[in-house]
Each structure stands twice: as C-alpha cells, then as structure tokens.
Symmetry: C2
Subunit: 228 residues, 2 copies
C-alpha cells in the first residue's frame, strides 16, 4: 500500500469516527482525542489531516454531500425518467440517513450551521431535487401547473423532517415513509401519461446505488473515481 493510499484511508477512518463521535456527544462536546482513538490513530495523525474540529466537521459534511451526489448520479444512469430518479434518490437518502453515520452526521452538522466551502447536505439535496424537476419539465413529464420551487421545497423539507423525527421513531426513516410521500405527491407532480410509469416505492436502482455508494464514498478521499 503506498503512503498516499494509507493517508487517504486514515483520513476516511477519521471522518467516519468523527461522524460517530459528533452523533454521540454533539459537536460542542466532541473531543478530538476520542475521534482519533476511534479511528485507531494518534491525535498527531488527526492534526496531520485536519487543522481543528471545525475542519473535521466540514470534511464530514463534504463527504456526506459527495456521497449523495454519487448515489444520485448512479441512480440517474439506471432509471428512465427524472421523476423516478428523484423518487429513488429520496429512498436512497432515507436509507443512508438510517444506516450511514457519515450521511447522518453530515445532515445534522449542516442543519446545526456548520459551513464549509461546499454546500451542506440539505443544500446539496435541494440542488439535486431542483435539477431533476427541471429535467422532468424539459422532458414534458412534469405536470404543467406545478411550481418547481414549491415541489423542491416540499421535498427537501419533508426529507429533513424524516431525519429529525426519525431520531426517536425509527419508522420515519424506513422505506414506507418516502413511499407514502411519493404516493401522495406523484399524482400531483407527474403528467397523466407519466404517472403509470412511476413507482413511489422506488426501483432496484436505489438499493443498488446505496450498496455500491458507500464504497465510492469511502474511497472518494483517494481522488480516484469509484471503481464499481
């Protein structure tokens, strides 16, 4: 293993450990010594990668945003319509929020005001939803009387709510919740011709993207494209 690969792995281990420590103790109470020991390295190694706690938090947020972007792009390649990509990506995001500490911490830190050079996770999701609705409109699959701004806001706000409410009631972050949301919303969003083609419970593309996503996710710090 080259030095560069080792350094990248350590960085990813630190990000993952930080996500877990931020979740357990909160950002204010999180100690760097706990983050480094969780990654199996010294605090010196942590400081080689990150200047301070804020830099670690920003890296967690950036990692979570990149993960969402990778998952969304992967789903887009495997689905026929932008609206199905939107449904599938929301399912993948809910699944990641339920199971992946980096995505969850990235979301919470963004909501708690941690700001880096890159957009936080809700902002990244908002951009993604907006672009997919633009694409649906351009393809003529979005109902004409729907405001894309309204639909983007409702989708982003509801997903944010699922995460917050899911902290203490896990069914908010299980598949039936986004399925119910799309069962309600799709008949309003899609043209009558497109609606029968859409599955509110998501297609196999969502599960596949999440299954391959964490790998792409963990290796994204290496600077190489995800190999799968």
């Amino acid at each position: 293993m080259t030095k560069q690969v080792r350094a990248a792995r350590t960085r990813q281990a630190l990000i993952r450990s930080a996500a877990i420590v931020f979740e357990q103790h909160g950002y204010a109470q999180a100690r760097l010594a706990l983050i480094s020991s969780g990654a199996g390295v010294s605090t010196g190694a942590l400081h080689f990668h990150f200047e301070n706690k804020a830099a670690v938090a920003q890296a967690v947020v950036a990692e979570a945003s990149h993960g969402l972007l990778a998952v969304s792009s992967s789903i887009r390649r495997r689905t026929d319509t932008a609206l199905q990509t939107l449904v599938d990506t929301s399912h993948a995001l809910v699944d990641l929020l339920a199971r992946d500490p980096v995505t969850r911490a990235g979301f919470r830190l963004s909501c708690d005001g941690v700001r880096g050079d890159e957009p936080g996770l809700p902002a990244q999701w908002q951009r993604c939803v907006g672009e997919l609705l633009d694409e649906a409109a351009a393809a003529g699959t979005l109902a004409e009387d729907v405001s894309r701004t309204d639909a983007t806001a409702a989708t982003v706000a509801a997903t944010t709510g699922f995460e917050v409410l899911g902290r203490y009631e896990s069914e908010w972050l299980s598949a039936p919740t986004p399925t119910g949301f799309w069962r309600l919303l799709l008949p309003r969003l899609a043209t009558p011709e497109t609606l029968p083609l859409l599955d509110p419970s998501g297609t196999a593309a969502a599960a596949e993207a999440v299954a391959t996503g964490p790998d792409g996710h963990r290796t994204s710090g290496v600077g190489a494209a995800a190999p799968i």
Copy 2:
C-alpha cells in the same frame, strides 16, 4: 394580585426564560441559575416550581403543545372547512416557530428526545393534522384516493423540516413557504368542489389566533381559560 396569580406568573416567566436559555446554550449546557436570573427570580424560586432541569424542559414542551392546541381550536371556530383549518393552523405554527421562543424550544426539545407525560409538539401536531383530515373525510371534502396517513406524515415532516431549515435560512419560516406547500398539496387533497373554496396562503383566522394565542399561552398556567 393574589399569591396564586403571582406564582403562576413566575412559573410562566421561568418557562419563557428557560426556552430562551435552551435555545442559546442547548439543553445540556443550560444552567438553572441563568434560567432563574432571566426570569428575574432566585434559583430558590425556580426550585419551588420545578424539581430539576428535566422538569423545566418538560414544562416548556407542555406549554408549547397547549399553545398549538389553543391556536388550532381558535382557528377551527373561525373557518368553514377542516382543510382550511389545517392550512391556517400550519401558517400559525410556522409563525409561532419564527417568533415565539417557547414554541420553538418546545419543538426542538421534543425533537431532541425530551419526553414528559404529555405528547411533544410534533406528536401534538401530528394528532391535530390527523383529526382535521378525518373531519375533512367525514365532511366529504377530502379527495377519495388520498391516504390520510400519507397526508399527515407529509405535513408533519415538512413542518418539522421548515423549523430545522429555518434556523439558518429564515425564509423557510416565512409565510410563502407554507403557502407554497399548500399550493402544491391542496389540489391533491381536496375534492374538485372544495378546492376553489380554499386559500393556501391562509385566512385572517390564522393571524387572529396567533395574535390572541400568546396571551392564552402565557396565562395557561393560571388554570383559567384564555379570556379572549
């Protein structure tokens, strides 16, 4: 002013001060001395009313829940349909989240897992939305192919999202946000005959309920009904 009235006022002042301190410092960091001094009383006076910090937090949550219930009942008396009451109550809740520290702290403490004997604010809101949708269904104003469970979940999750996203971007908690949500959702929820009767931007009842609500809210600890 009788002793009883004075005690009730002190209790309300403590709840309000606690809401502000919880918001500024977080629950874990909030000091009781800061809460009592914010209410202009001694820590002894605080301990006369509340056993510990958890009891203060539960009182904030209960106060916020009662406030929402009072506002919703007041709106129901002034609107013609259950769906308009739902729209108006969501506008009132968003307005309270933007302006009233007790509602905001009650919401956040509930989301952060503070549990008392009474339901937290999102749970109270969920019950309220569910009941109004049941009423709309019974009155034949709800579209027949809409699942009330789905509509309740989407409304509660989106409102929760507005609060979280509004912490750093205030437009999430301004009137255009719930208006956009209902502009999107009402054509799906309401029967074609009911839709033209509904105003997604809310009626005067919402603003009136919030204007009189905080009074009812502040005096609710006295055990008397709101006089207005």
